[in-house]
Assembly symmetry: C2
Homo-oligomer: 365 residues x 2
């Protein structure tokens, strides 16, 4: 059997430097755990725009379709802010999600014990938090037509976007959420604005349908997304798995990520349908952005990106034990007090560099 | 001159009981501060549906259009969950907002010093917080057409809603935000998803236009709404005034409200264009919902509704000094340790009833 293939797209800002540490981790698994990958690298976002005038070339898109898993760093930066909409760095990422049909975005919000005091929330509210947000990623207002900016025929303009969800789009992501819940706390909370939006009514009904017909054993509740935003801030431990649409998921998962105090720590997985080899189409990326303010200075925290590779081991390559090994190494390093600059409060600890953190994790492995 | 008119719509759940305390406060101002109002009462939401089969009658709608200000309690309850979309309790509230054209929803997130420990956030993150969210309230995905649930011609259904903003809709709410900022910290942060949505690009451009042409003295910044959700949780004191669209405003203002730990304390004002008498069309309501679980038990906290009347004194009747008087009385009562059940932690304080809180505030006045 050939080695499984990994396509690495470091992207912009701190993407390349955090990805460099991930490559060292990948090499370690190849050398020590008999887990070799065929790794190739490509461009996405502003980096691709600079080289090719487009945030994702057709060639790289085709490579991503063939890869067993894609690892992405981050996209975007102020130098690209004035680019036209179709060539913005984000369009490269959105094209990958859409064309690979990665409909289920898994965003764990986990609070690392060693970092609980770093949260803006009180320790007892977040310590031990382990919440999974499943965000629909290929439909909704991100992709619905019609869209655009037009003249409003009264001397002004009108901006339009369309939220659009079908039965099947809702059911398949609901299934992902119920499957995950069964392997966790067996509880799903679905969030929408069914009191205001018809697409929210359909969302609620279809999630309920999947529950009643396929997962009656899982505990299902529904919440309006504004109440959800409140409850995530008030007492996040009430949740196990949250399933929600693309736009609500964007805001709610970022709020949830921030309350762990560990933004530089959080990975994500975006999964699609199984390929011929049984593996799901998959893209893994850290939750944090490209952090242009600290890019190129060796200050970035590579853990979110490293844990994204751990998710790849678990969800793409069925190596849950190796994923555990990597996650434990990260926990070990944190417990030992190793910190990049983003994880340091007022206590005067000396930060390690991006590669210093990589060294520590390799040593712990 | 006739007395100014107030239309009171208590609505559902705890609405009637908190509004009963507001009426006592209104009477106090009539008797002691030479500020008499012509008060009338009507039905909205489930209460109106029960009596008339509609969440708002045309007669009540017409009265609201004529009133100098409308005070609303809350709408909704589980017994109405299965009603058809057009007669849901929320539709009554949404019709008021839309037909009165109340485009600027002012939602202060203030942390009361006496309650700072009640927040799920650390004291230093929220103590002294005074943030104003200005939410667009009459357009966007709440009202855009086309909308509905249709057959998708493949045996399933499709749910559709439309986000739609015009130049003028964006500019007028931006002006409200800049005006408020000038009387506060002189800073506005505008939030959208211009990296993903064209309506967000238009939003950003038009807010910038209003700034450059009419309010160049105010400090303006832009933030993506997901980053905004993060920053509101991380360090809310970085903001003075936030301006955002209807749907983002719904989630972000609820998250901001919750982090004060004082949800039962927070009022809101929804303002439209000036009427012939110079007063803006206006509706005032607490941020909290109808809380059906505690309705009718005398447990509800009436402060949010009472402070909504204080906002009416300030924004509709130009009585900032009387609003201050009422707000100070509330602060006094809290400093004295008077607490409804929602404001009590583990310390064994005995809660006062809804009317007990009203008594205390009247005594402080
Ligand atoms: C970069 C951007 C297009 C993206 C999104 O809005 O989905 C990001 O915020 C995310 O959550 O992955
Ligand atoms: C009750 C509901 C229709 C309403 C909304 O979504 O606007 C509420 O959440 C609010 O924020 O006032």
């Amino acid at each position: 059997m050939p080695n499984p293939s990994l396509l690495i797209l470091p992207g912009d800002g701190i993407g390349p430097e955090v990805m460099a540490e991930v490559r060292r981790i990948i090499d370690w698994f190849g050398a020590n755990r008999d887990l070799a990958f065929d790794v190739s690298e490509g461009l996405v976002g502003g980096a691709s725009y600079d080289a090719h005038g487009t945030p994702l070339t057709d060639e790289t898109m085709a490579e991503a379709q063939e890869a067993d898993a894609v690892l992405l760093g981050a996209v975007g930066g102020p130098q690209y802010d004035d680019l036209d909409f179709p060539v913005k760095p984000e369009r490269g990422l959105l094209r990958l999600r859409k064309e690979m049909d990665l409909y289920a975005n898994l965003r764990p919000a986990q609070c690392f014990d060693a970092l609980a005091d770093f949260s803006s929330l009180k320790r007892d509210v977040v310590a031990g938090l382990d919440l999974m947000i499943v965000r629909e990623l290929t439909s909704g207002i991100y992709f619905g037509e019609p869209r655009g900016i037009m003249d409003d025929n009264e001397g002004g303009r009108v901006g339009i976007n369309t939220q659009r969800y079908t039965t099947e789009e809702i059911r398949r992501v609901a299934r992902s959420a119920f499957e995950l819940a069964r392997r966790r706390g067996n509880k799903v909370c679905s969030m929408e604005k069914a009191n205001v939006m018809e697409s929210g009514i359909l969302w609620r009904e279809e999630v309920q349908w999947v529950h009643d017909n396929e997962y009656p054993d899982v505990d299902l509740s529904h919440m309006y997304a504004d109440a959800g935003a409140m409850q995530i801030v008030r007492w996040p431990k009430q949740f196990d798995v949250i399933v929600t649409d693309n736009l609500f998921g964007d805001l709610l998962s970022d709020a949830a990520a921030m309350l762990t105090g560990s933004l530089g720590m959080l990975p994500s997985a975006s999964l699609g349908a199984p390929m011929a080899n049984g593996r799901p189409k998959a893209l893994y990326e850290p939750v944090h952005g490209s952090a242009p303010d600290i890019a190129g200075q060796g200050k970035a925290n590579p853990i979110a990106c490293i844990l994204s590779f751990a998710m790849a081991l678990r969800y793409s390559f069925d190596k849950g034990d190796e994923a555990d090994r990597l996650e434990k190494a990260v926990e070990q390093v944190l417990a030992d007090g190793v910190r990049t600059g983003d994880l340091i409060g007022e206590d005067g600890t000396k930060p390690v560099s991006t590669s210093g953190m990589g060294d520590a994790i390799l040593a712990a492995l």
